[in-house]
């Protein structure tokens, strides 16, 4: 590599300036207001063409499937997206390309793969088309970028990615530690325009709890300008107040709360239901043929009205009991 190794050549898709983000956050004032609404209302109100979108959970685990489907239904265009291990969530967004250029820019750490299940043919088509701008990161780098934004500083230093093409094709810069003189990778704050996060319970104000791992969701909710939560169940504010240390995401960050039972399907929801490997394989299979994929997403997403309809149309309603049993069995 003959390029300047202290400055990544990757494009910066979002503004890391904390003062401009502060000016936005100043206007939120949502800490104690109720914000329950439907999925379609939340997406039409808070997601705009060209927005920078980020998705919570990890891969096929605790993902906000209903919101991702709704982005397709409402045919949003030209989105930027952050992908620390994103698998089925990314697969859904790429499926939206059957109707047009949904994704325009991707901050990639782990995309196109579904872990042990293999690669997504459609995601590969989209990412190999040359039509989507890509900037490279590691999972930790993206987590640190969100943490910088959540912290309210324009960058944070870290030690990984240095010396590799993952750094050179990122938008990181090298800084020298003022105390030790050693080089560090400075990663720019990432303030997504909108975040989708699925949680176990949430009150009408948006105070949310999850069971199991939290991945990057605490920081993602704080970093994002607008936050839409889907929740397995809406609970009372009283329940939040009875055990406030269990709150992971405080209502001050949240713009919309949508009750979506089984909302992580076909992904895994810790303690509730395991991932539907049959349906995930079906996705990968139909993707091999673009026409089959088009028919598949037409039938399951574009021609359904809601996530509940998707569960019916995909046959999920018949499998949920088994997925719950698998999850309970460990």
């Amino acid at each position: 590599m003959d390029d300047d190794v202290t400055t990544g050549r990757g494009p910066l898709f979002s503004d890391p300036d904390p003062d401009r983000a502060r000016a936005f956050f100043r206007s939120k004032r949502v800490a104690l207001s109720e914000k329950v609404m439907s999925v379609d209302q939340a997406v039409s109100t808070f997601v705009h063409d060209g927005d920078y979108l980020a998705s919570g959970g990890f891969g096929t685990n605790r993902i906000a499937t209903a919101l991702l489907h709704e982005v397709l239904r409402q045919e949003k265009r030209g989105l930027s997206f952050a992908g620390h291990t994103t698998t089925h969530d990314f697969e859904i967004l790429c499926a939206g390309h059957v109707r047009g250029p949904l994704l325009a820019r991707v901050d990639a750490a782990y995309i196109v793969g579904l872990e042990a299940r293999g690669l997504s043919p459609q995601a590969r088509r989209v990412m190999q088309s040359g039509d989507v701008e890509v900037c490279e990161w590691s999972n930790y780098a993206l987590a640190v970028r969100l943490r910088a934004a959540a912290t309210g500083v324009p960058f944070l230093p870290m030690r990984s990615t240095q010396g590799t093409d993952t750094f050179r094709f990122s938008a990181s810069k090298t800084v020298e530690c003022p105390f030790t003189g050693r080089p560090l990778a400075a990663v720019p704050a990432l303030y997504p325009d909108v975040a989708f996060i699925h949680v176990h319970t949430c009150d009408p104000l948006g105070n949310a709890r999850v069971e199991g791992i939290s991945v990057a969701d605490a920081d993602l909710a704080r970093a994002s300008k607008r936050v839409i939560l889907t929740t397995e169940k809406i609970v009372s504010v009283d329940q939040t107040r009875e055990s406030p240390q269990q709150t992971l995401i405080p209502s001050a960050c949240v713009d919309a709360v949508c009750e979506v039972p089984y909302g992580s399907y076909p992904g895994n929801m810790p303690g509730c239901y395991f991932s539907d490997e049959v349906h995930l394989r079906e996705w990968l299979a139909v993707e091999r043929d673009p026409n089959e994929l088009t028919a598949f997403v037409d039938r399951l997403i574009y021609e359904t009205d809601s996530f509940q309809d998707y569960l019916e149309a995909s046959g999920a309603t018949h499998r949920l009991a088994e997925l719950e049993a698998i999850e309970k069995g460990g």
Binding site: A23, R26, K28, G152, R222, E242, P244, P250
Partner: protein
């Protein structure tokens, strides 16, 4: 304030409460600022979101806290979190108001709560910044409630613990502090002060029964008092009633039981 049916701390608390509008977020400590926030919640601002630096977000305070980290500050809170999480909410720009204190304040609203005398061997060591500097740096509008005396309102601080407008003008931004932030109001037992465009303190209203001369004599620096400055509106009966019966019934802050 002899002859009036409220004392100085009650007046200051009522006045402070009025600045906290519904839907706003405020960082408070113990004592009068906490009472002011509770009074605002129980009168015009039920949706006021109160945060305590040690980790309590949006509590339903069962009684006046003794420490900004005691269990009352997270009693029936919407979240009990870490200190860093709270200050990062502030740094991120989510907190509108914060109340600060100090042993000394200057004309730019800078505060000293660290030392009197030389730093290495001070004549008086105070606690230091605590979270004061952080609130003063991050929150959009900071407020001070303090007794008005020449010992507190001084020409030059022995130590700048927490930033007001620093040396005035754009000094805060030049130093790296967040844009558009800074001191907003100083509420004393004599008057309410605000700040001019260059960051100099100036009187906004004078309390009932207090003269311009009283204010000038109690201030250790040259203080702007505009011609025709307003009088502070006295506490209403309703404010005093809520304050005495509902906010601080045992009088630990306002100095009287109901």
């Amino acid at each position: 304030m002899a002859g009036r049916d409220y004392n100085a701390i009650e007046l200051m608390t009522c006045v402070a409460a009025r600045f906290l509008e519904d839907g706003a977020t405020v960082g408070v400590g113990t004592g009068a600022p906490c009472a002011a926030a509770m009074l605002a919640q129980k009168t015009h601002a039920p949706g006021l979101f109160v945060v305590f630096e040690a980790g309590g977000l949006g509590p339903e305070l069962p009684a006046m806290p003794i420490s900004v980290g005691d269990s009352r500050t997270s009693h029936r809170a919407v979240m009990a979190t870490s200190m860093a999480d709270v200050f990062e909410m502030c740094q991120r720009g989510l907190i509108d108001y914060a109340f600060l204190g100090g042993a000394q304040i200057d004309v730019f609203g800078n505060l000293n709560s660290t030392v009197v005398g030389p730093f290495e061997k001070p004549s008086v060591r105070f606690p230091g910044s605590g979270g004061g500097n952080d609130f003063a740096s991050f929150c959009w509008r900071t407020m001070v409630m303090t007794e008005h005396s020449p010992r507190r309102f001084v020409e030059t601080l022995d130590f700048v613990t927490s930033p007001g407008y620093l040396s005035g003008g754009r000094a805060r931004e030049a130093a790296g502090l967040p844009s558009e932030t800074g001191p907003y109001r100083v509420i004393t037992d004599l008057c309410v002060m605000g700040y001019g465009v260059e960051g100099w303190m100036e009187v906004v209203s004078i309390h009932p029964g207090v003269t311009r001369q009283d204010v000038k004599e109690a201030t250790g620096f040259s203080l702007e008092i505009p011609e025709g400055v307003a009088g502070t509106e006295a506490p209403t009966e309703q404010e005093l009633h809520v304050l005495r019966t509902d906010v601080d019934p045992t009088g630990v802050v306002i100095g009287r039981g109901s």
